[in-house]
Structure formats: structure tokens, C-alpha cells
């Protein structure tokens, strides 16, 4: 007579021959990992260095932002002369034109000379102010 098999519940993991027990068994004595615990583990020196570097970066960013805001408002106040009459058409450079045929065209030589001539006329215009004199010589 065959031995009556002992009753085994194969659903129980420990009775399952193929069951592999977990290796990471949490230590019940170890406190749970929280944010505060993590921060408190970092050495004080490293905390100080990190805070200093962050502050410097924030200050630099603020300075750059402020500089750009001031520069923008300065250029806005110093534009070319205010037009006294309102022109009916757009007089600015052609920026909204349709796709140009040749966007990187150099200026042809027959016009470059004329541009240079006019440019010279504008730049070489020097004032010829009167001399400083004593009007009261002899008094």
C-alpha cells in the first residue's frame, strides 16, 4: 500500500517547490525612508555649497533680466525722429514684402558707387564754427 500522501497545500508559496523566497527582507528595526530623513543624511558642508551656488545663479539670472528690460526701454525712447505728420502708407523698410526673388543679392556696382558717394556726403559734413575772440581788447 502506498503511503497516503500527506496533505500539502501547494498554493502556499513555501510549499511550492518552485518558489524562490525574496532576498530583500526589510529590516523592521530600520525607520522608513522619507524626504526629511534623506536631507538630514547629507553633510552640512555640501548643503551650504549647494545653497550658495543656487543663490548665485538666481542673482545672475535676475541681473540679466533687469539689464535686458532697461536696454529695451532705452532703445524704445531713443528711436529715429518722431514723424510730425502721419504718413498714409508704411514708410519703414520692406519687411512684410512677399517672398523676394533673390534675398541675398549684393548691390550691383553701378549703384554701389552712388551709395558710397551719398554716404560720403552725409559723413564728411563738418561744422566750421567761428573763432573764440576777445571783443573788448583795449578796454
Amino acid at each position: 500500500m502506498k503511503d497516503k500522501p500527506t496533505s500539502q497545500n501547494i498554493d502556499q508559496p513555501q510549499n511550492n517547490p518552485l518558489y524562490i523566497p525574496p532576498t530583500n527582507i526589510p529590516n523592521p528595526n530600520q525607520p522608513p525612508i522619507t524626504k526629511e530623513n534623506f536631507i538630514s543624511k547629507i553633510p552640512t558642508k555640501i548643503k551650504i555649497v549647494f545653497i550658495s551656488i543656487s543663490s548665485i545663479i538666481i542673482l545672475l539670472l535676475l541681473a540679466i533680466l533687469t539689464k535686458n528690460t532697461v536696454k529695451h526701454s532705452f532703445t524704445k525712447n531713443n528711436q529715429s525722429p518722431q514723424i510730425t505728420t502721419t504718413p498714409s502708407k508704411n514708410t519703414t523698410q520692406p519687411q512684410n514684402s512677399p517672398t523676394p526673388q533673390n534675398s541675398d543679392n549684393p548691390i550691383p556696382p553701378q549703384w554701389q558707387n552712388k551709395f558710397d558717394e551719398i554716404h560720403q556726403l552725409i559723413e564728411n559734413n563738418q561744422e566750421f564754427l567761428p573763432p573764440k575772440i576777445d571783443e573788448q581788447i583795449g578796454l
Binding site: S80, P81, I83, T84, T85, P87, K89, N90, T91, Q93, P94, S97, P98, P100, Q101, N102, S103, D104, N105, P106, I107, P108, W111, K114, F115, E117, I118, H119, L121, I122, N125, E127, F128, L129, P130, P131, I133, D134, E135, Q136, I137, G138, L139
Partner: protein, 254 residues
């Protein structure tokens, strides 16, 4: 016919070169006289101080002689300055021939007056003559300054009208060129508005000068007139930039 045109162009080019050389030579003469005046003036100040300290007859005589030399030197300096200014006015005078000629006539009158003054001053022998002359000169110099600043503004107006004329010619050439895309036409037409605004500024500069001259304030009006001239300059620069942009965007090379 083309030969005649070429010869005419050559003649006017040569004339403008001669005019430029004349102006440079006049300017050189003026600068040399400026040094002479400074020397004579410093000598006069020294003699004046000596007389103030010691009060001797010799010191008084030396003071009078040095004052005469300084006055003559000063008047000669003004003559050379006005001559150079007159020559400078010749350039681009065609842009405003009537008002430019009027300024040149007035300048010549003052040059003649200064020559006359030098002849008179060379005959002075006493302090009283010098004192009377100094007071009279101070009053006249206000009018001379008035004329100088009016002429300077006139010269600037002529100069910028020449620039605007050349810009008009250039934009006309670009507009008529078959290699410029039709789309550029509107942009080129718009530039005439900026040109009109520049002309307005030049007109305003002359008006301000004439207005303040009537109230005997020539030196005050020069800076305000100059501001209007600078605005005209800014418009000219903008027009030049716009024309460049138009060519870059719309020129079709074949």
C-alpha cells in the same frame, strides 16, 4: 553732342576741385592767423598786467601798442574766417541761389568793414581811442555773429538739399530699372514721404534762424536750427538704408 556733354562735365568737375582747393587754402590761412592772434593777444595781456602793476608811462605806451597789434590781428582773423566761410557757401549754392547770394553779400560787407577798422586802429595813439573802439566793436560783433550763424545754417541746408537731390535721382534710377521687381514700386514711392519730411526740417531750420535773428539772438537760434538739420540727416540716412534694402530684396540679376 556727347563730347560736348563730356567736356562740360569735365569743366564742372575741375571747377569743383578748384573750389575745394580754394576752400582748403583759405582754411589754412585762417588757421595760421589764429596762431598769430593768440600770440599777439597773450602779449597784450602781459603788457596790460605790467601797466596795472607799475603804471609807468613806458608800460602804458607798450600796452597801447600791444592792444593795437592784438586788435588788428583779431580783425584779420575774422576777415580770413569770413572769407573761408564765403568760399564754403559756394558749394551747393545752386540749391538756394538767392538766399546764398544774399548771405555772401553780407559777409563781404563785414570783411570790408573789418579792413576799414584795421586802417583806423593803426592810427590810434591813446587809451581813449582804444576804449571807444572796443565798445563800438562789441556792438558790431553781435551783428557779425548773427551773419556767421545764419550763413552756417544756410550752408548746412544747401548741403542736405544736395543729398536729398541725389537720393531722389538714385531712387528714380532704381525705380526705372527693368531688373527691379514690380513689387518694389510701392516701397520706392513711399520714400518720397520721408524726403518731404526731411525738406520740412530744413525749411524749419531756416525759419528758426531768421526768427531769432530778428530778435537779436543769433547764438541761441543756432543750436535749435542745428537740431532740425540733424533730423533731416536722420531721414536721409533712413532713405539710403531703405534703398539698399529694396535692391537687396528686389533686384533680379540676369
Amino acid at each position: 553732342m556727347p563730347i560736348i556733354l563730356f567736356l562740360l562735365q569735365l569743366f564742372f568737375f575741375k571747377f569743383s576741385v578748384i573750389a575745394q582747393e580754394d576752400y582748403q587754402s583759405a582754411q589754412q590761412t585762417y588757421l595760421q592767423q589764429q596762431q598769430q592772434y593768440q600770440q599777439n593777444y597773450l602779449n597784450y595781456i602781459e603788457k596790460k598786467d605790467t601797466y596795472t602793476k607799475y603804471g609807468t608811462i613806458t608800460a602804458k605806451k607798450e600796452k597801447i601798442e600791444s592792444a593795437k597789434k592784438a586788435i588788428i590781428s583779431r580783425n584779420l582773423l575774422l576777415q580770413y574766417y569770413l572769407s573761408a566761410l564765403n568760399i564754403k557757401l559756394r558749394k551747393y549754392a545752386d540749391n538756394n541761389p538767392t538766399t546764398t547770394k544774399k548771405n555772401q553779400i553780407e559777409i563781404n560787407k563785414w570783411i570790408a568793414w573789418l579792413k576799414e577798422q584795421n586802417a583806423i586802429v593803426s592810427t590810434f595813439t591813446n587809451q581813449d581811442d582804444l576804449s571807444v573802439n572796443a565798445k563800438s566793436f562789441s556792438k558790431k560783433y553781435i551783428l557779425i555773429k548773427q551773419q556767421i550763424y545764419t550763413s552756417l545754417i544756410q550752408n548746412q541746408v544747401n548741403h542736405y538739399q544736395q543729398i536729398l537731390q541725389q537720393l531722389s535721382q538714385l531712387s528714380q534710377d532704381i525705380q526705372n530699372n527693368p531688373q527691379i521687381n514690380d513689387q518694389a514700386q510701392n516701397w520706392i514711392s513711399d520714400l518720397s514721404i520721408k524726403k518731404d519730411l526731411a525738406q520740412e526740417k530744413l525749411k524749419r531750420a531756416t525759419q528758426l534762424m531768421n526768427q531769432n535773428t530778428q530778435h537779436g539772438q543769433p547764438a541761441n537760434s543756432y543750436p535749435t536750427s542745428k537740431k532740425e538739420i540733424l533730423k533731416a540727416k536722420q531721414y536721409s540716412v533712413q532713405i539710403l538704408q531703405d534703398l539698399k534694402s529694396i535692391i537687396v530684396k528686389f533686384y533680379q540679376s540676369q
